[in-house]
């Protein structure tokens, strides 16, 4: 690997949003009062656009280089040096992070613009944009940080912003509880992440190359081979630790529980943080450390299994939800599961590809749902919507396109990327037909619940009350334009990653310097085409069932929901009771432990302390003197030090002075007796 090219503009990609956040955070309240909301949004959006332009410049700079030299680095200063630990604050761009910064700044910028309209009536406008900018900063730090610790800063930083934005309307208890849940569950993941860093660092350090920088880890990755800890491979354990972090951030089993609740935040937040960017951090991290994961087949297996399990699991829950955003939330979890499936079969490029297309269509879906909620006056229950197609044409069309994309309709972005993952799951060395077939089932479920949503919201007759119907309106331009751009992206983004059958993927080629050549897949076009048709067919079945149920009304949903006495439906509808189980075991358990600890403090340790204090007090007469000093409160005596001393003197006098004297006398007598007995 050659020495990367040093630049000095990468830092601004990351720092510009921070500047925006700092300005709005410190002065926002005043500025908003004095100059209105326009200035606030300008301060917030300009840096993001600036970052976007710089990201484009970085992209061009990369393209201009030879593929194997595509690295740009911008080193600021040494952050921590202690012993063999040496951490720089440095940002780097390679083809992988270039994709990520474009997604973050590009889609992030659109969502910023959308928010101008969406948040327009909120008094805490400045606070919203502060956190949105801060989030952009943290996310950019996450994807451009050149070492694990710096990435960890971004990793926790996005968690913080997510927490603050979920609980944005903090006066409602439900929102803040959801924020707490998100942060704490993420902390569990971070706990694993940081342990992974420690393990990698020390294992390399024992061989003289302690480092946390990605490039160095890659250079010395071979040293991790054959290292063992607790009877397992270091690479396996470290990647598993890191994967715990990924399950937290990217909402995979078992730490996915926070994401559905996170929908309490404003909708642009759900789009930006909980769909397009932050939740994909786990996938990015695995792709970034692909060389480690490739060394640990066991971990890859775990990743793939958890990915596909989450994809199915979340999809089943999404079938039954009625809240427009919750359906999308479970769909996000499910789609993230696909990405992990891709990563788990070592098809990192496919995972990142899906990450990118997903960012487009899921952001579009969320923003569309935001537009719907906006029009419905805050209503989120799909049971009360319907027939919005005519009232909101832009929203409808963009939403529909995104639904087509996520359902995997041929020639849309979602089709290409999902198919790439499924194909890899089937054909890669780590894949298997079982993984593939589970993935295909999930795709069918996805098609069902997404079309169900589309039909429930936009088709049929309106089920809203009269008042709401009258106020139905299309959203302002500032909201619809981003929708249109995203919808176009949902289609177009797929075309840069065509399957082998249709001429091969430019996207894969672009990422080749990072992941190496995608393993030669027995260029058998036959199976690929066949599998593709299979998955499209399954998705079509999903679509038809939804069509029959919710458009034609030919098929009563109860036919399915009452299967197995309705138990299955209740299980799905109540999200497998996972929240309740976690609450009972972890939350209650911890609180129980906490109370036990406090009880021990109060009743056992303090009992001993107080007991010994009391005993001392009884035994020692002199303690009486001591008490007099304290208990009598020598307060007024302090007016004058001399007077103070006098006051004490008096109080000591008025105590049982005789007792003291007798005690002293007794002691002296004893001393004399002892002396007389033993000295002569």
């Amino acid at each position: 690997m050659d020495q990367p090219i040093q630049t000095d503009y990468l830092r601004w990609i990351v720092l510009l949003p921070l500047l925006g956040a700092a300005t709005n955070g410190l002065l926002g309240a005043q500025l908003q009062k004095r100059f209105g909301k326009g200035l606030i949004s300008t301060i917030a959006i300009a840096p993001v656009l600036g970052s976007f332009l710089l990201s484009v410049r970085a992209l061009f700079d990369l393209v201009a280089l030879q593929p194997e030299q595509r690295f740009l680095i911008d080193r600021l200063y040494t952050w921590i040096t202690t012993g063999s630990l040496n951490v720089d604050v440095a940002f780097w761009i390679d083809p992988l992070s270039a994709v990520m910064i474009l997604v973050v700044t590009g889609i992030g910028g659109l969502i910023h613009i959308y928010s101008i309209g969406y948040m327009h009536d909120d008094n805490s406008y400045w606070r919203f944009f502060t956190f949105l900018n801060l989030f952009t900063f943290a996310m950019l730090l996450l994807v451009t940080g050149d070492n694990l610790l710096l990435v960890f800063v971004g990793w926790e930083g996005v968690g913080l912003c997510s927490y603050a934005l979920i609980g944005f309307w903090y006066q409602d208890h439900v929102n803040t509880t959801a924020g707490n849940k998100a942060f704490i569950v993420n902390r569990v993941g971070d706990f694993g992440f940081i342990l992974g860093i420690f393990l990698i660092f020390w294992t390399l350090d024992h061989q003289g190359h302690g480092t946390v920088s990605f490039r160095e880890i890659q250079k010395f990755a071979s040293l991790l081979k054959n290292q063992e800890i607790w009877g397992g491979g270091v690479a396996t354990l470290a990647t598993l630790f890191l994967f715990v972090g990924a399950t937290g951030k990217s909402a995979q089993i078992p730490l996915y529980v926070w994401l559905p609740d996170a929908m309490q935040g404003p909708t642009p937040v759900s789009a930006l943080i909980h769909a397009a960017t932050m939740v994909t951090a786990g996938v990015y991290m695995i792709a970034r450390l692909h060389f480690l994961y490739s060394m640990a087949p066991l971990t890859l297996e775990v990743v793939a299994v958890i990915g596909v399990a989450t994809a199915l699991f979340a999809a089943t829950i999404a079938l039954t939800q009625n809240d427009i955003k919750r359906v999308l939330a479970y769909s996000t979890i499910s789609q993230l599961g696909y990405m992990f499936l891709g990563a788990g079969v070592a098809a990192y490029g496919a995972a990142i590809f899906h990450l990118m297309t997903h960012a487009f269509f899921k952001a579009c879906l969320f923003l569309g749902s935001g537009s719907v909620i906006h029009a419905m006056g805050g209503e989120q229950d799909m049971g009360k919507m319907g027939g919005l197609r005519s009232a909101m044409p832009y929203t409808f069309w963009t939403f529909a396109i995104s639904v087509l994309a996520i359902a995997g309709t041929p020639l849309t972005g979602g089709f290409f990327s999902k198919d790439e993952i499924l194909w890899q799951a089937f054909s890669s060395a780590h894949g298997s037909p079982l993984l593939w077939s589970l993935g295909v089932v999930g795709a069918g479920l996805t098609a069902f619940y997404m079309f169900r949503q589309l039909f429930l919201v936009f088709f049929g007759n309106s089920r809203a009350d009269h008042h709401t119907q009258e106020h139905l309106h299309e959203s302002p331009k500032v909201m619809t334009v981003p929708l249109v751009i995203l919808a176009i992206g949902s289609i177009a983004a797929g075309w840069i990653g065509l399957p082998e059958v249709f001429g091969g993927s430019q996207f894969a080629e672009w990422l080749e310097p990072v992941f190496g050549k995608p393993h030669e897949m027995a260029a058998s076009e036959g199976p690929e085409l066949l599998l593709m048709i299979c998955s499209v067919a399954v998705a079509a079945v999903g679509f038809f069932i939804a069509y029959l149920m919710y458009y034609r009304g030919a098929l009563a949903p109860e036919r399915f929901s009452s299967l197995a006495g309705g138990a299955l439906y209740r299980l799905f509808y109540n999200k497998y009771y996972v929240d309740e189980i976690y609450q009972a075991i972890f939350v209650r358990g911890t609180l129980l432990l906490a109370r036990t600890g406090a009880w021990i403090d109060q009743h056992i340790i303090d009992f001993i302390v107080d007991g010994s204090a009391k005993t001392t007090a009884y035994i020692s007469w002199f303690n009486g003197l001591f008490d007099n000093y304290v208990i009598d409160g020598i307060v007024n005596a302090l007016a004058n030090i001399t007077f103070w001393a006098g006051g004490k003197f008096r109080k000591v006098q008025t105590g049982n002075i005789n007792s003291y004297l007798y005690v002293i006398l007794g002691a002296v007598v004893l001393a004399i007796i002892v002396r007389l007995r033993y000295s002569s």
Binding site: D632, G646, R650, T654, I657, L661, Y662, L665
Partner: protein, 102 residues
């Protein structure tokens, strides 16, 4: 028997005991102070006596003077307190004052 150290020490001991008795039994603050003076005097006698018979230098006397000085300070402050108490409680019986403790 020639007058020696022992005689002085015995005088000191007797004075000390009498002073202590005063302090132990009296309820009148001024009497207690007088008892304290007796005790201090007894210790001074010991200092000077040892200085004379045992060490042969005058350091003991220096200590005695310090004690006298302290006694003076103590008497001044102590009596001022007694007067203050008297002003407030109209008695200088220490037990009576005790019941009025804050």
């Amino acid at each position: 028997m020639a007058i020696g150290l022992t005689h002085y020490l015995v005088i000191g001991a007797i004075l000390f005991s009498l002073g202590l008795y005063s302090v132990l039994t009296r309820r009148n603050a001024i009497s207690i102070l007088m008892g304290v003076e007796l005790i201090l005097n007894s210790s001074n006698i010991n200092y000077v006596a040892f200085s004379h018979f045992s060490s042969g230098n005058v350091e003991g006397q220096v200590y005695a003077i310090f004690v006298i000085m302290l006694a003076a300070a103590e008497a001044a402050v102590g009596l001022a307190i007694v007067l203050a108490i008297f002003q407030i409680f109209h008695t200088i019986d220490v037990e009576a004052a005790e019941t009025l403790k804050e």
